[in-house]
Amino acid sequence: MSSITTTPGTGRATNPAPSSRKRRRSRVTAVIGRHPIGMLFVAPYVLFLVTIFAYPLVLAVWISFHDYFFTAPGISVPRPFVGLDNYKTALTDPAVLQSFRNVGVFLVINVPLTVVLALVLAVALNRAVHARTFLRVSFYVPYVTASVAVVAVWLFLFSGDGLVNNLLGPLAPNPSWLVNAKLAMPSIAIFVAWKQLGFFILLYLAALQNVPKELYEAASVDGANAWRSFWSVTVPGVKSATTLVVILAIITGANLFTEPYLLTNGGGPDGASTSPVLLIYQKGIQQQNPDVAAAIGVILVLGVMVISLVNKYVLERD
């Protein structure tokens, strides 16, 4: 009986005295796996990822360290390495700093609101209530509706002479919601929370199916009321879904563009709702400064990664 054993998953031989041929084979196996045909199957998706995500990301990082602008094919222009100049330009621009602060405000309002509403509504919808399917579809419709169409409805509701102000009468804010520096970003945060809610409810509904019913029964036997049962069974039971919802909500918030572009007409009033992506669009596409725009993009990506990792660590620790 041979004494060769293989570590599961790696294909690496652990024979105390392996031949060089086996060692070589094990190296090849380590790279292409034990079933090379699998590489063939994943190749289209890898190609997609490389073309659509990896290449633009790497190109953006490259652009951010060079003096770069878009040219017609065949036009040769010097694109010197400029080190951190583009990052310096971005980080000393008050508009860029304000846009990051604006996104901070957005995230502080939008993420908790999204998590709480999505979870509460998912729990409610998970129960056998009347017209459950109708309600599920109702929450999902804004998510699948084009932002442009939904923004038009919100403009009708929240403009100065809109329905909401007419209902509020003398209590209506002055200046109105979308031209009020203090209310513009919170209004966008609430709008996005409402629009995305259907998707996050679906995530929670799926997670709720995996919470064992026995836990609720045990909690009931122990005398837990509905709130205690929700807090001690449901919330921990959907923790991994919460991590996902938080991270997706953060990514959505960091990519904010349509709402400040349309709802507050280009990040108004006076830049109070400008988002980094809106600035990337202005600087990169409108003003033809893709190098500075790329630097803002890289900073944004790094920021989102750090916040997401911190959230993952905080939410998933036991």
Binding site: A30, V31, V58, A72, G74, I75, S76, G271, I285, Q287
Partner: protein
């Protein structure tokens, strides 16, 4: 470690591929030889999606194609996008721009030129003489920093004040001759309109942050007040002067007294009678015909200059020849055909927009006799101011707009300090270009 041994090669491959491609992106061959300027053949052109312009464009193309079967034009509307300029910029980068675009915004020309996307008209024999003969001194405003011309001045929409006679009457203002010549008169009339409830707003320009919005509030009035100055001249911002400051203070008064709202109206405030006045070009004559009982006046100045002394923003759209064009000889021939006296007359007839010709009122006497509403615009077309032809044009306008919205529209900063800050920023941007 196990995971790393798999991830590392993949990541290295991806990063390596990306860097190779990124570095490769900066290389390229030389520019096309100027021989292309004599090449004949079929060409593609893009037209504005404005219905009337499209109608003119199709007729022009049909007329050309009938006479030039070997140099046929294929025309299409500019592809949809957030703006024409972004679509054109992307097409230049991708190398699939058409030969001619009959909707090239002068503000975007310096960028297209920097991208290597435009053909200098000096490449074509006699082109500059042709343009001088057609547009006269106006041509100087379209000369690029390198002394060459990359755009053919085509048509302007000199902006003026349209007013609703019915609202004026309701407010107790003489509808035939409302006092709008000086800032004081304009403000007094505006106060009457709003106070009487005749309309919720006296005037309603878009109070939003887009870089081009200043072309329809500050710039026409600054052109009038300053006697025809551009925003930037000789590499310096011009507007931090008494003329610019007085225009800014005039508008800030309108906003502060809520005579002009600071929230965007989602619709046409003038057509919907939400505003008594509007800053528009001659296109408005056809648009508001039968909908609004309108009158027209020049933009106001602090001293009430006479109409024949007033300059305004041109709101021009031009034609440019794009460097991806193979048959540039045909492109230039089509340009001359499309800007000929005959085709300019047809454009005027179809759209009401003013061809940028020196002899406009005298070249088409029948048209102006038949359409007297356009006479004032035609007279105004002789005194128009274009956006400055500098390479950071759009960044400059955005810098101006940011300070304008902060101080004039939302009163978050003193107007004079904001204008000074905008001028300083624009000086820096102009110096970089």
């Amino acid at each position: 470690m196990k995971r790393l041994s798999r991830t590392l090669p993949a990541a290295t491959l991806v990063v390596g591929l990306g860097l190779l491609s990124a570095c490769g992106g900066s290389s390229g061959g030389g520019t096309a030889a100027s021989d292309a300027s004599t090449v004949k053949g079929p060409i593609k052109i893009w037209l504005s999606n404005n219905t009337e312009e499209l109608g003119w464009g199709k007729a022009m193309v049909a007329s050309w194609n009938a006479a030039h079967p070997k140099e046929k034009i294929t025309a299409q509307e500019i592809p949809a996008g957030k703006s024409s300029e972004e679509v054109i910029g992307a097409a230049i980068t991708a190398g699939n721009a058409p030969c001619l675009i009959f909707n090239t915004a002068p503000a975007a020309v310096p960028q297209f030129q920097k991208q290597g996307g435009l053909v200098p008209l000096e490449n074509f024999k006699g082109a500059v003489d042709y343009l001088k003969a057609r547009s006269g001194a106006t041509l100087d405003q379209y000369k690029s920093a390198d002394g060459k011309h990359y755009q053919i001045p085509w048509k302007s929409n000199p902006v003026m004040i349209f007013y609703n006679k019915d609202i004026m009457k309701k407010a107790g203002v003489d509808p035939a001759n409302p006092p709008l010549a000086t800032y004081d008169e304009f403000l007094a009339t505006s106060r009457k309109i709003v106070k009487s409830g005749a309309a919720p707003a006296a005037i309603y320009p878009a109070p939003t942050s887009e870089f081009f919005q200043s072309w329809f509030d500050f710039y026409p009035l600054y052109a009038a007040e300053s006697g025809g100055k551009q925003l930037v001249e000789d590499g310096k911002a011009t507007f931090d002067d008494p003329a610019g400051q007085s225009v800014a203070k005039f508008w800030s008064t309108l906003y502060a007294e809520k005579l002009a709202p600071n929230e965007k109206y989602n619709g046409d405030s003038f057509a919907d009678s939400k505003a008594a006045m509007s800053i528009v070009g001659p296109w408005a004559v056809a648009v508001y015909k039968g909908k609004v009982n309108w009158g027209v006046a020049p933009v106001p100045t602090s001293t009430g200059k006479s109409a024949d002394q007033i300059s305004t923003f041109s709101d021009a759209k031009n034609v440019a020849i794009y460097s991806s064009c193979k048959a540039q000889g045909t492109a230039w021939a089509v340009t001359k055909f499309a800007t000929s006296k005959e085709q300019d007359g047809k454009l005027l007839e179809a759209t009401g927009q003013m061809p940028l010709r020196t002899d406009l009122p005298t070249a088409y006497p029948d048209y102006f006799a038949k359409n007297p509403d356009y006479k004032l615009f035609a007279a105004q077309a002789a005194r128009t101011v274009e956006v400055p032809n500098v390479s950071s044009s759009i960044e400059i306008w955005q810098a101006f707009r940011d300070e304008w919205t902060k101080s004039v529209i939302f009163a978050k900063a003193p107007v004079d300090a904001s204008m000074t800050a905008a001028a300083k920023k624009i000086d820096e941007l102009a110096a970089q270009s």
